[in-house]
């Protein structure tokens, strides 16, 4: 049931991805809270759907999302769960994704969506916890 909710959320939130990168927050949430294999498949599908929005770059987001997801899955065992570390990990994860995608595509980085995504990270992260687990934050 939870997995179904994630896919529904992905479909609902994807059109708003241009303004706030909600997909990356959702993926980050899944990496930290769900089965590793599911997280990997979800990362791949998210990247695939984002690529379909921009046909010229088919494959770029799929690859970046899958590789970054696997890296975070490997590193998460060594990360202490607290508000500060979660926030810092997300910022590094998100910025790495943006920088890698923009290096590959050679397109300019726009600061407004990055700032908005970082600002709205915690509210969305807490809402996801509340929606899926019924609590505001798991520590």
């Amino acid at each position: 049931m939870r997995y179904f909710i994630y896919f529904v959320l992905l479909y609902i939130l994807l059109p708003f991805n241009v303004t706030i990168d909600v997909t990356i927050i959702l993926l980050f949430f899944i990496i930290f809270n769900e089965n590793e294999r599911f997280a990997l498949i979800f990362a791949f599908i998210s990247g695939f759907l984002i690529d379909l929005y921009n046909p010229g770059r088919l494959g770029v987001n799929m690859l970046v999302y899958t590789l970054l997801c696997q890296s975070l899955l490997y590193l998460k065992k060594y990360i202490l769960r607290s508000l500060l570390t979660t926030f810092l990990t997300f910022i590094i994860f998100y910025l790495t994704k943006n920088i890698v995608v923009h290096i590959i595509l050679g397109s300019p980085l726009s600061s407004a969506p990055i700032a908005l995504t970082i600002i709205t990270f915690f509210p969305i992260f807490w809402l996801l916890h509340r929606l899926v687990y019924g609590v505001w934050m798991k520590t």
Binding site: E36, L40, F44, L49, L52, G56, G59
Partner: protein, 258 residues
């Protein structure tokens, strides 16, 4: 357990690398076909969001513009009897297309749209939005087309300053210029430049942009005129293509007398 995870990871990475090896044209065809099925709910939602984002302020602005144009139209119709040639009203057919992608190396220069030769699109077909001119069709494939926008370097079009009737060439050279305006021509900031209708591509009267600067340069005959495009290409999600020949409607005299 770890082995199975490794297999899944390897398969996903291989699947992600595969499209990267495809040619650009193949990628576009595959993506367009897949997105029409997989992104259908998103497309519906995007259209709904787009529909809802037409704010009250925008509606009021359009209503004001509509009223102004009606008044202008009425004034023009009053002048018709002075003109001996019959007045004919042209109505163009428009085809809406969704912007599905952009050229990563020239993000505002070229737009990919979801209509192609199956929708009877052809090369150099004019592309507009409610705000004005966007560009022309530069490439047509079966399921998609590429539009060259007026923000692409070297894009040129014949322009007309309606107030004075000055003809010139609008050209993209880093910013939009209106060339061949003589030193003594009366053109000021805020004036509108429209398509002149002199080319075989664009019909007359489509707004290209507004003048945001006039500068005297080291030229004996001409001065520099800078334009702001009426359309914001980086915000476009859909465009309209002018399809086929316009239907010409002869205006009845009864309407004029009214």
């Amino acid at each position: 357990m770890f082995r199975r995870h490794l297999i899944v990871f390897s398969v996903l990475v291989a699947l992600a690398i595969l499209p990267l090896l495809l040619q650009e044209q193949t990628k576009l065809v595959v993506s367009t076909k897949l997105s029409s099925v997989l992104l259908y709910p998103m497309t519906v939602m995007s259209e709904l969001v787009e529909f809802l984002s037409v704010s009250r302020a925008r509606i009021e602005e359009l209503e004001t513009m509509n009223s102004r144009l009606r008044l202008e139209n009425a004034a023009l119709r009053e002048r018709i009897p002075q003109d001996t040639t019959p007045f004919r009203e042209k109505k163009f057919k428009l085809l809406k297309a969704r912007v599905v992608g952009r050229d990563p190396s020239n993000i505002n220069g070229y737009l990919y749209i979801d209509k192609g030769s199956k929708d009877k699109l052809y090369l150099n077909q004019p592309v507009i939005t409610i705000d004005g001119l966007v560009g022309k069709v530069a490439f047509v494939d079966t399921y998609y087309s590429i539009i060259e926008t007026l923000e692409n370097a070297g894009f040129a079009i014949s322009g007309l300053h309606l107030k004075t009737g000055i003809h010139g060439i609008v050209k993209q050279r880093g910013s939009l210029h209106f060339d061949y305006v003589r030193i003594h021509d009366e053109i000021t900031t805020g004036d509108s430049i429209h398509t002149s209708g002199m080319s075989e591509i664009f019909p007359k009267g489509i707004l290209i942009g507004t003048v945001h600067g006039v500068q005297q340069i080291e030229d004996l005959f001409f001065k520099a005129v800078y334009l702001t495009p009426s359309v914001r290409v980086n915000r476009l999600t859909s465009v309209y293509l002018i399809v086929g020949e316009p239907t010409v409607k002869k205006l009845e005299l009864r309407e004029v007398s009214r």
